[in-house]
C-alpha cells in the first residue's frame, strides 16, 4: 500500500481543554484516493484537518501524542512552510480566507505562487488555467473583499489548488454554496482526483460523498468509529447510531431489506438504486 499519510496512536488535547478532542487515531491515507470525513458537529473533523496540515502542533499548541507522518516525515519535525509545499488546505470560513493584501481576484489567486517563488510568467498561465477550471474568470478584476460567500469560497479553493499540492485537505467547501455551486465544486474535486491528488474532504452532503468519495472516515467524539470503502460505510446501518445520515438510497435499501425484499446490495447512489430496483422488479416478473 502506497500511503502518503500515516497516523498512529494519535491523541490531541487543546491547550485549554480538559479532555482529548481526538482519541487514539490510527489510519493510513492512501495516495490518489478521495477520503470523505463525516460525523456530527463537534466530532473532531476540523481538528483532524488541522493535524494533517500541521497547524496542530505548530500553530495551536496543546498536547499531541502519537505519530503523524506526512510523506514519511513526522509533522512535528517539519515546519509549516515545508508542509505548505505538500499539503494544501482550504478551511471552512470563506470570509477570512483572503490574503488581505491583494486588490483583484487574479492577484489573490496568484499570491500563493508568489510565495512559492514561481516565475511571474508561469504564475500568469497557471492562474489563468485555474480561474477557468473553477469558473471564476468573470471575477478576475474584482476586489476579493467585495465578493459573496460562495464566490469567496471558490476563490479560496482556486487559490489553493493553483499551488498544486499533492495532498488537499478541504474542510466543508460547500457550506456557502447553492446546489449548482456545490456541484461545480465537486466537479473540481473530481478533476483534482483525476490528476492523482490525494484528497481529504470534510463534507456533510452525504449524497455527494456517496457519489465521489473512495473511502469514508467516520469521526464521532474524537474517535474513528468507522472507516472503509464508501460502499461499505454508507450502506451500514451502524452509521445511523453515530448521528450520521445515510444517503436516501441507502435508507430506501435498508427499509426494503427490513421488509423482506432480497436486494443484492444496499444501493448508495441514485444509479445503484435504479439498477437494484430494476433487477428486483425483473426478478418479480415486472416488465418496465
Amino acid at each position: 500500500m502506497n500511503s502518503v499519510i500515516k497516523i498512529s496512536n494519535m491523541s490531541y488535547k487543546y491547550p485549554t481543554g480538559k479532555v482529548d478532542v481526538l482519541k487514539n487515531i490510527n489510519i493510513e491515507i492512501e495516495k490518489g484516493l478521495l477520503y470523505a470525513v463525516v460525523g456530527p458537529n463537534g466530532g473532531g473533523k476540523t481538528t483532524f484537518c488541522n493535524v494533517l496540515r500541521g497547524f496542530i502542533p505548530h500553530f495551536y499548541r496543546g498536547d499531541l501524542r502519537g505519530e503523524v507522518l506526512v510523506n514519511g516525515k513526522n509533522i512535528v519535525e517539519s515546519t509549516l512552510g515545508e508542509l505548505s509545499l505538500s499539503v494544501g488546505f482550504v478551511f471552512q470560513n470563506p470570509f477570512i480566507q483572503i490574503s488581505g493584501v491583494k486588490e483583484t481576484v487574479f492577484e489573490e489567486v496568484a499570491y500563493g505562487l508568489e510565495n512559492l517563488g514561481v516565475h511571474p510568467d508561469e504564475i500568469r498561465t497557471r492562474v489563468e488555467a485555474i480561474l477557468k477550471l473553477v469558473k471564476i474568470e468573470h471575477l478576475r478584476d474584482k476586489n476579493p473583499f467585495e465578493l459573496s460567500g460562495g464566490q469567496r469560497q471558490r476563490v479560496a479553493l482556486a487559490s489553493i489548488i493553483v499551488m498544486e499540492p499533492d495532498i488537499l485537505v478541504i474542510d466543508e467547501p460547500t457550506s456557502q454554496l447553492d446546489p449548482q455551486g456545490t456541484e461545480e465544486v465537486f466537479e473540481i474535486i473530481q478533476i483534482m482526483k483525476e490528476k492523482g491528488k490525494t484528497i481529504i474532504l470534510v463534507e456533510h452532503k452525504i449524497e455527494l460523498i456517496a457519489e465521489f468519495a473512495d473511502r469514508v472516515i467516520l469521526l464521532h467524539d474524537g474517535e474513528i468509529v468507522m472507516e472503509g470503502t464508501t460502499q461499505d460505510v454508507l450502506s451500514d446501518e451502524k452509521a445511523l447510531s453515530y448521528d450520521v445520515m445515510l444517503p436516501q438510497y441507502a435508507m430506501l435499501g435498508l427499509e426494503l431489506k427490513k421488509r423482506g425484499v432480497p436486494l443484492r446490495k444496499i444501493p448508495i447512489t441514485e444509479e445503484q438504486a435504479v439498477e437494484e430496483m430494476n433487477w428486483w422488479m425483473a426478478e418479480r416478473g415486472v416488465r418496465i
Partner: protein, 251 residues
C-alpha cells in the same frame, strides 16, 4: 491613480527616487540657512503636485495638516523666544526681532519637510512603495503588515456599521445627542475589537495555507522598474545637493 500612473512621468518615477527627493528637500533646508529658501519649497512641491495631477489634494492636506500647527509655533516663538530687540510690548507679552526670525526659520523648515512628505504620499501608491522597500530588503512580514493595514481599515469600517446595526436591533440607541452616542460607543467597539482579534488567528492560517513561510524566495507578479528618468532625477538631485553644500562652505 493607477490609470494616470501609466502616462504621467512624475507618477512613473520609482518610489525610492521620490523618497530621495523628499529627503533631499528635508536635508537642503538645513544646509541653506535662509528661511525664504525653505518657504520656497512649498511652491516647488505644489508645482510638482500639480504636474502630477494632485494639486488640489496636496493643497487641502497642507492646509488641514500643517497650517494651524505652523501658526501656533510661530506665535509661540515670536512671543516667548528670548531676545533683546523688542518690537512690541504689552504687559509681560513682548515680541522680539529674534523671536520672529527664529519662528520664521523653524516654521519654514517644518513646512518644507511636511509638504515634501505630503507630496511623496500623494504621488506614490503605498503598494509601489512597499514593493520597492521589499526589493531593498524589508522582510515580507513587514511588507504584509503595511499592506494589510491599508485593506483592513476599510473592512473594519464596514464591520463597525454591521455591528451598529446589530446593536440597534437589540435596542441600543446609536443616534441622537452626544450623550446617547457616547453610551453606544462601548457596545460598538468591544465586539469590533474582539472579532478582529479572533480573525487574526484565521488570517494567520490563511497566510500559512498560501505558503507565506515557505522556505523559498518570493516572486512578484506586480513589478515596477527604474527608468532612465530615475537616473536623471537622482543625478540632478546629487548635483544640486553638492552645489548647496559648496555654496554653504564658500559663502
Amino acid at each position: 491613480m493607477s490609470q494616470a500612473a501609466k502616462t504621467n512621468y512624475i507618477l512613473n518615477l520609482y518610489p525610492t527616487t521620490k523618497l530621495l527627493f523628499t529627503l533631499f528637500i528635508a536635508l537642503s533646508v538645513f544646509i541653506v540657512p535662509t528661511y525664504w529658501y525653505a518657504y520656497a519649497m512649498l511652491p516647488v512641491c505644489l508645482i510638482i503636485a500639480i504636474a502630477a495631477g494632485q494639486g488640489k489634494e496636496f493643497i487641502t492636506l497642507v492646509r488641514n495638516g500643517l497650517l494651524i500647527l505652523l501658526v501656533f509655533i510661530f506665535l509661540m516663538q515670536a512671543f516667548f523666544y528670548p531676545g533683546a530687540q523688542i518690537l512690541w510690548q504689552a504687559g509681560i507679552l513682548k515680541i522680539t526681532q529674534e523671536g520672529i526670525l527664529y519662528g520664521l526659520n523653524m516654521t519654514s523648515r517644518i513646512l518644507a519637510i511636511g509638504s515634501a512628505f505630503i507630496l511623496f504620499f500623494r504621488i506614490t501608491s503605498v503598494k509601489d512603495f512597499v514593493y520597492s522597500l521589499e526589493k531593498l530588503g524589508l522582510p515580507p512580514k513587514g511588507a504584509y503588515v503595511v499592506l494589510a493595514t491599508l485593506q483592513i481599515i476599510p473592512e473594519m469600517k464596514k464591520q463597525t456599521s454591521v455591528i451598529m446595526d446589530a446593536q440597534k436591533t437589540r435596542g441600543v440607541e446609536t443616534e441622537g445627542t452626544m450623550m446617547v452616542r457616547a453610551k453606544a460607543f462601548l457596545p460598538t467597539i468591544s465586539p469590533l475589537i474582539l472579532s478582529s482579534l479572533a480573525s487574526t488567528e484565521e488570517r494567520a492560517i490563511t497566510l500559512e495555507s498560501r505558503a507565506f513561510s515557505a522556505p523559498v524566495k518570493k516572486t512578484h507578479l506586480y513589478e515596477i522598474y527604474k527608468t532612465k528618468h530615475d537616473t536623471v532625477v537622482r543625478i540632478g538631485m546629487l548635483v544640486a545637493l553638492l552645489i548647496l553644500i559648496a555654496g554653504r562652505i564658500l559663502l
